[in-house]
């Protein structure tokens, strides 16, 4: 693995390098949170120190909120030809890179979803580590450190960034930006790095004990607290929208006014909505909110292990921040643990 240095003096030149590879997207503040937004001007590319997570995770680039998947006429269905721009996404936190790895597996297992793939191959991931806030618990989900899934990865060590090169694309970038990415990485950098790691490890405060929850999900399947949560849940679906590993979608056909043409549209759905499991004849497999919540947490904490060997929660803390009535991984695990 190659490691380089980027001096903070040269940070302002980063944009000029990246823009050669595609659109540059990075976190920008929105209210008290951040969103990944397109950076149009060099000076707007800012590596916010306090940035931890965006409102919506990077899945919005790979499986957009709404997507036209087919154009059709009465005698033909056709995949629309679209020009997907290459996007360099700067500042992706480690837990999201883990989420991305999960999505990669998900969208290629059994069947390959080309809509995802076409977008996936057009994103360049530039990760960045930052110190956790009171909501992040990726240390508990083993997702606080990344080994793969990025093209470049930045760690802020004061006057400079250490830059890990994780892919050929990443290597292309540092080569093209050879005037700002320095190969001169003296050994004493290791000291700074270890100190940073240690500082970061200690900075995690959220204590969610995920040990054994898989079995507890099974044992507590009929516990009363599910109904209590069910009564509280607003069915707003925010948890599933903000979770980086939630992938459900709905599909609907629209026709155009006055034309024999239409579109098949795919858009994010949520298992928190009543119609999610409704089938013909109005039979609903998950009529009550409690059942729907159970499905979500089964899926996050237990079921995914069956499929992919790890839980699908990456500890980003979004559900904790977002759910207005405090139903989230933390409170559910608390209940599971009694």
């Amino acid at each position: 693995m190659r490691v380089l240095k980027l001096s903070k003096k040269d940070e302002n030149k980063l944009y000029d390098v990246l823009i050669k590879f595609g659109e540059v997207w990075a976190p920008v503040p929105k209210g008290s949170r951040y969103v990944f937004d397109k950076i149009e001007k060099k000076e707007d590319l800012i590596m916010y120190n306090e940035f931890i997570r965006t409102i919506l995770p990077i899945k919005k680039f790979l499986m957009p909120q709404e997507l036209n998947i087919l154009n059709f006429k009465p005698s033909k269905y056709e995949k629309p030809k679209v020009d997907i721009p290459t996007r360099v996404i700067v500042g992706v936190p480690p837990c999201e890179i883990h989420a991305l790895n999960i999505l990669d597996k998900f969208y290629t297992t059994d069947f390959v979803d080309n809509y995802y793939m076409e977008r996936r191959e057009k994103v360049i991931i530039i990760g960045k580590s930052s110190l956790p806030d009171e909501y992040l618990f990726s240390h508990k989900t083993n997702t606080s450190i990344v080994e793969e899934g990025y093209d470049l990865f930045f760690i802020d060590l004061g006057d400079y960034y250490l830059v890990w090169v994780g892919s050929e694309k990443g290597d292309d970038i540092v080569r093209l930006g050879s005037d700002i990415f320095s190969e001169d990485v003296p050994v004493d950098v290791a000291k700074d790095f270890v100190a940073y790691r240690e500082k970061r490890r200690k900075a995690f405060t959220k204590d969610i004990d995920l040990e054994g929850v898989t079995d507890l999900m099974e044992l507590m399947y009929d516990a009363d607290f599910w109904d209590e949560f069910g009564e509280k849940c607003l069915s707003c679906g925010q948890c599933t929208m903000v979770c980086p590993t939630c992938t459900c979608f709905n599909v609907i056909d629209e026709i155009e006014l006055n034309k024999d043409e239409g579109h098949r549209r795919r858009y994010w759905d949520s298992c928190m909505f009543k119609d999610y499991s409704l089938v013909a004849g109005q039979h609903n497999f998950r009529e009550s909110r409690a059942e729907r919540l159970k499905l979500w947490y089964t899926h996050k904490l237990k079921a995914f292990i069956g499929h992919f060997g790890s839980p699908s929660c990456v500890g980003c803390g979004r559900c904790i921040i977002t759910c207005p009535v405090d139903i989230n991984v933390e409170t559910v695990v608390e209940k599971l643990k009694g």
Binding site: K30, G31, S32, R33, V35, T54, I55, L56, K60, Q65, E66, E231, K232, C233, L234, S235, C236, G237, Q238, M241, V242, N250, I252, E254, I255, E256, L257, N258, K259, Y267, W268, D269, S270, F273, K274, D275, R289, I321, T322, P324, V325
Partner: protein, 260 residues
């Protein structure tokens, strides 16, 4: 060529915004007029054929007089598919916010004193489903262009429009907004039928529920939450009622009980 479906657009009491939002489809207006054989559309044309039988009737507005009630029943007879078009028709909209409080006559007197009317006998605003069978609905105050056109296109095609039963929050999150509830604002997004693309929360202003209540709305949970955030019960209930129309009336008692 296939015969064009016939369409009638009728208005009762409301702000006329639903019909206006049809006229606001500047780019699609010409297509709309060529896709359907429009028999009645008073707000836009003068060659209306009141007697015509229509495949689809879009009915805007709530029923506020006995004359309107009679007309509504006639429309029902004439229409194959009757669509409640917009909030007033669907649940009564703001003029029905005090529905069921028993004080309508008092309010009427407040406004008109003892004045007598020959024009029609007024009555408390009610949504149209209280009187006739409604086959499909288009929500909104007024309906959003995109959802309305999709629905009308489906209707002209012979389908009932389908909506995912999702609240405003879905689209609010699509547009990547911070949740206003967490900011201590009285947002009715979770209780409100989606489809508007969440313009209000996107402008940092809470959803006031103008599209009407979604089937799965958990009013009790929202009431408890808002109380925790420091809102007074009366204010919360007033907000629920503003666009809650006839649906909220059934829930009020339970809500007041929970609030205690």
């Amino acid at each position: 060529m296939k015969k064009k479906p016939t369409l009638g657009i009728y208005g009762f009491t409301g702000c006329a915004g639903c019909q206006l939002s049809l006229l606001d489809c500047e780019d699609e207006l010409i297509d709309l007029f060529s896709a359907a054989d429009i028999k009645v559309f008073y707000e836009a044309m003068s060659n209306n054929d009141d007697e015509a039988l229509v495949d689809i009737a879009l009915v805007e507005g709530s029923i506020n007089t006995n004359k309107q009630l009679d007309e509504l029943k006639e429309i029902r007879e004439k229409a194959k598919v009757l669509v409640a078009f917009g909030s007033c028709a669907n649940h009564g909209c703001v003029q029905a916010m005090a529905l069921g409080d028993g004080k309508w006559e008092q309010r009427f007197k407040q406004v008109y004193g003892d004045a007598k009317f020959t024009v029609a006998i007024p009555r408390e605003a009610q949504p149209i489903h209280k009187f006739v069978k409604v086959d499909a609905f288009i929500p909104g105050c007024p309906p959003s262009k995109i959802q309305m056109l999709r629905a009308i296109t489906q209707l002209l095609f012979g389908n009932k429009p389908t909506y995912t039963n999702s609240p405003v929050c879905l689209e609010c999150k699509f547009r990547e907004n911070e949740c206003l509830l967490n900011d201590g604002k009285l947002c009715l997004g979770p209780l409100t039928m989606g489809g508007c693309t969440a313009p209000c929360p996107t402008h940092n202003t809470p959803c006031i529920g103008c599209w009407g209540i979604i089937e799965e709305a958990n009013h009790i949970a929202e009431l408890k939450l808002l109380k925790e955030k420091g809102f007074k019960t009366e204010e919360i209930i007033r907000r629920f009622r503003m666009f809650g129309g006839s649906e909220i009336v059934e829930k009020i008692e339970k809500l007041l009980e929970v609030a205690k």
